[in-house]
């Protein structure tokens, strides 16, 4: 194992075993799987409570309209309907919270049910409670709303224009905020530059599409004054706090449970109006209430991701050295802020230096309101946007300089000895060897032969392209000073009297498999079997306050909290064992189900544990029981990195893209379970390719959602994806004692620019510089057809001839 780079923090790596223990580092099958493959696990929609009723929302069909009147009589008259409510009834409830504070941020009131005006298609206007789901949905359609449609705005640039319709009239403009990150002498860098490369790039709007849509069940017991809310959420504790504020109950009366959660990808890292309305309905009607979103609502009313228009410039010296970078980003907020909406583009600014040495940078961001659903965190959240901008402009820079894109990147990497490396954006990258992952990926992909084949291809009218993307991402979110709601995490470890171990984590896994990885980690520390470790999460009454699972933080922050709690228990066990064995605590080692003194005397693990509970023979001052909690505050983020290479063939007659090879070399520090890491990377790559090739949320000019079903919004299917070849390098993080970094978003961040680079590379003979995502065949074909220049690279007569043929056929 590589030695960690010098720590920028007092946190030293304390146990070299964390990277390769008996269980840590092993490909272990998941503990959570048996219940899932048998179909007996419980997602929120699977819950059935005695007397439970259902609710459904009436939603706006207009992007922008005045509500003139709402008539609920017909809905109320339907047999089986219990109640119908509008904003007239919910005056004390809400508003939907936004956690971000910035000096000039405009935060318009975001009601749980529309108040007088609707501002996006799908905004909830009324809610119906009925005996069953079918009746609730029927009744929701019977709610009559008189709308007076108003002009809507969906285009970012138009929204900033003088004559634009205003999403929130009282704000007098659609500008939500401005944010500038500037460091170094940018003007001088651009003045000195031999070449300046510019590109405009749209990072399109995406829908997260967790396969489980949102769902909420709430029950209120007035006698106990106890509100229990089951929600498909990534942040049960934060949600508990927010629900108490939304419905006006003391926080001690609210319990939130995140049962099995069917994927989130950021979309459930939020507090939604429905998560206030459903509990409120339970309190109001005295019946447990269930709401189940359904896919159509999910498209309309669950947060979207990305949606930013980027103008990026790179200043270069003759030899390919970067002198400066500039970007102007228009970021679409949608109609309202959700929990973190305005934060996302700021992450883009922070990560805009990529893994390169950039002496000067200026990023200007304008947040813009439009008549669309809110954007917020979607897998990667701000970093994919940054990485796309950086990796695309690097690609164009290399091309401009006539340099190989891999070589061009290498030239601008910081050296391993420069870590911890402070970026021009003010971050301190913990540890990295960018050169190593690049070299490995090039080798694994057969980069040189791919390049040779590309040149040969031109002679035969074949257009192969190779895409490289070297990324760095910001994970383990994060130091509390840099996060809106605290960036620490809690972990409790309790060794039960029988020697079985209960782990309580404030992280809230929803597919990542931490019931397994945390069990591996604790098992190694205590020298027991992971099957004897039970990881509990997602119940605010059982688990100490925690932050949740997002930003690839669960292992690096949540896992470390557990690791630290386990250290406390180890020292307690050693003290007790020393007492029982007549030895010194420092002379006790733990492993293989026993505690052993230097003298060779040993005692079974279970006996020491029992002694801690029976407490009849304990040292003076020894606190009985074996439970420890640690709230871990990370001193820095972690910065996983890697290099992806893919090769494609583009059919210039149809615009179709064939992915021939996809190689990913990732470095997420020490690995606890390689099987699960591979799963995260593969899933991430698939999502990133989805953005690059197929996915796009489309609103028309009137603000109608055109892509409202899985028929119109194309997420990757099995037969569309290639097999990914994975490898890794291991550069432990010095930021936490386990040396782990995080891996949840890497694949998504790296893969999008990788394949776009490959496709544009394939079409370089036609002078195609850039194609906007998703790279649908029609767009690719049009790009070939309209490309202006035929550069010297297409010296073979074939390319232009083909191009003419394409034109003629058009």
């Amino acid at each position: 194992m590589a030695t960690p780079a010098k720590s920028p923090t007092p946190q030293k790596k304390t146990n070299g075993k964390a990277g390769n223990g008996t269980w840590v580092g092993k490909r272990m099958k998941r503990k959570e799987d048996p219940r899932m493959i048998r179909g007996i696990s419980h997602y929120t929609d699977d819950l059935k409570l005695a007397g439970m009723v259902h609710c459904a929302f009436t939603r706006s069909p207009h992007a922008h309209a005045e509500i003139k009147a709402i008539r609920t009589d017909a809905a109320k008259a339907l047999p089986g309907v219990i109640a119908v409510y509008t904003s007239a009834d919910t005056t004390g409830l809400g508003p939907v919270p936004c956690a971000i504070q910035m000096p000039d941020l405009k935060v318009p009131r975001h009601p749980v049910l529309a108040e007088g005006r609707v501002r996006y298609v799908g905004e909830p206007v009324a809610v119906v409670v009925a005996e069953d789901l079918y009746i609730a949905r029927d009744a929701a359609e019977l709610v009559e709303v008189d709308y007076e449609p108003l002009p809507a705005v969906t285009d970012l640039e138009k929204a900033l224009g003088k004559d634009s319709p205003l999403v929130h009239e009282q704000l007098k403009s659609n500008q939500a905020f401005t944010h500038q990150l500037k460091n170094g002498d940018v003007e001088a860098g651009f003045k000195k530059a031999d070449r300046i490369v510019k590109q405009r790039m749209m990072n399109q709007r995406l829908a997260p599409i967790a396969m489980e849509p949102r769902a909420v069940v709430a029950e209120y017991l007035p006698g106990e004054n106890r509100l229990t809310v089951w929600s498909s959420t990534q942040i049960p504790h934060l949600l508990k706090t927010q629900i108490s504020l939304l419905v006006g109950l003391p926080e001690t009366a609210v319990r939130v449970i995140a049962p099995e959660v069917g994927g989130g990808f950021g979309s459930k890292l939020n507090v939604y109006g429905e998560e206030g309305v459903v509990p409120w309905l339970a309190m109001k009607t005295g019946r447990p209430v269930k709401w189940n979103e359904g896919r159509r609502e999910n498209f309309m009313a669950t947060i979207h991701g990305r949606d930013a228009l980027n103008d990026v410039e790179l200043a270069l010296k003759k030899d390919g050295t970067i002198l400066g970078m500039r970007a102007r980003v228009l970021a679409d907020m949608g109609a309202y802020h959700q929990l973190l909406t305005p934060l996302i583009p700021q992450l883009t600014a922070l990560m805009h230096a990529g893994c390169y040495k950039i002496p000067a940078i200026q990023i200007d961001i304008i947040g813009v309101f439009t008549n669309k659903m809110s954007t917020d965190a979607y897998r990667g959240a701000g970093r994919p946007e940054a990485t796309f901008n950086v990796e695309r402009i690097m690609e164009l820079g290399a091309r401009e300089m006539g340099m190989d894109p891999a070589e061009f990147r290498r030239k601008n990497f910081p050296l391993p000895k420069e870590f911890p490396y402070t970026t021009v954006t003010g971050l301190t990258y913990d540890s990295a060897k960018y050169q190593e992952s690049l070299a490995k990926a090039l080798k694994l992909s057969g980069y040189d032969s791919l390049r040779r084949r590309q040149k040969e291809g031109w002679k035969r009218g074949k257009y192969y392209g190779v895409g490289v993307s070297t990324y760095v991402e910001i994970c383990a979110i994060g130091p509390s000073a840099a996060t809106p709601a605290g960036g620490w995490e809690s972990g409790t470890v309790r060794i039960e009297p029988t020697g079985k171990v209960t782990v309580l984590t404030g992280a809230s896994p929803h597919g990542q498999g931490e019931e397994t990885t945390f069990a591996q980690l604790v098992a190694d520390q205590l020298g027991i079997d992971p099957q004897d470790v039970n990881v509990v999460h997602g119940d605010t009454l059982a688990v100490p306050y925690g932050i949740g699972t997002f930003g690839s933080r669960a292992t690096a922050v949540g896992g470390t909290a557990i690791y630290m709690a386990t250290q406390k228990l180890k020292s307690k066990l050693a003290t007790l064992a020393a007492h029982l064995l007549g030895s010194k605590p420092a002379d006790i080692s733990i492993g293989r189900g026993q505690l052993t003194a230097k003298s060779g005397k040993r005692i079974p693990f279970g006996e020491v544990v029992l002694a801690a509970y029976t407490a009849r023979n304990i040292p003076v001052g020894f606190e009985p029981g074996l439970e420890a909690t640690h709230f871990f505050e990370p001193s820095n983020f972690t910065f996983p990195f890697g290099c992806h290479v893919c090769s494609v063939e583009v059919d210039i007659e149809t615009g179709e893209i064939k992915i021939e090879k996809y190689v990913a070399v990732d470095d997420c520090g020490n690995v606890i379970n390689p099987l699960l890491v591979a799963g995260q990377i593969q899933g991430g790559i698939a999502q990133g390719l989805g953005q690059a090739l197929w996915e796009e949320v489309v609103y028309n000019d009137d603000g109608q959602l055109v892509t409202g079903t899985l028929m119109d919004y194309a997420i990757p299917k099995a037969h569309l994806l290639p097999e990914f070849t994975l490898d890794h390098t291991v550069t432990p993080s010095p930021v936490n004692p386990m040396g782990v970094k995080g891996v949840g978003e890497a694949g998504t961040i790296a893969s999008t620019p990788c394949i776009v680079n490959a496709v544009c590379d394939a079409l370089s003979p036609f002078g195609v510089r850039h194609i906007e995502m998703p790279l649908k065949p029609e767009r690719v074909w049009n790009a070939i057809r309209t490309a202006k220049a035929i550069p010297a690279i297409a010296a073979s007569a074939e390319a232009p001839r083909k191009r003419e043929a394409v034109r003629r056929r058009a």
Binding site: P34, M36, I37, G39, M211, G679, G683, I715
Partner: protein, 165 residues
Amino acid sequence: MTKNVTITVNGVERRASVEPRLLLVHFLRENAGLTGTHVGCETSLCGACTVLLDGRAVKSCTVLAVQADGRNITTVEGLASGDQLHAIQEGFWEEHGLQCGFCTPGMIMCSHDLLEHHPNPSDSEIREGINGNLCRCTGYQHIVAAVKNAAQKMSRPTAARAGAR
């Protein structure tokens, strides 16, 4: 207006009086209490609700309960026999073919149908075979491995897989 139906689910005959518009998936989840069959779209596009209807995979959100009258349904809950998992379930477990698990029951039932007709499928046959089932977590690679793993197990003589099925 309701209609009486008799539907055999995982070998158990269930009688109920249902609305003609009741979807089979809701019958399974609400009436039969089998919530292993998930609802991801209600529009036949995601495959989370896949079950076997007389042995063939169908999307149970696109079948009415009344259409299943007198027929046999197998859901994911009906695959294992006691403690013994079905080979496909084992395959998904061993190859990490699931993350959040929401698509998994549908994937498993769809793979069941696939393996019935292609006992020894190639990677691309598997990818084609499951392309009506969406998974947002895995990127499918481990699902392909899971189905292959299951195919190998199932092609071994029954005796070799002691107690299997």
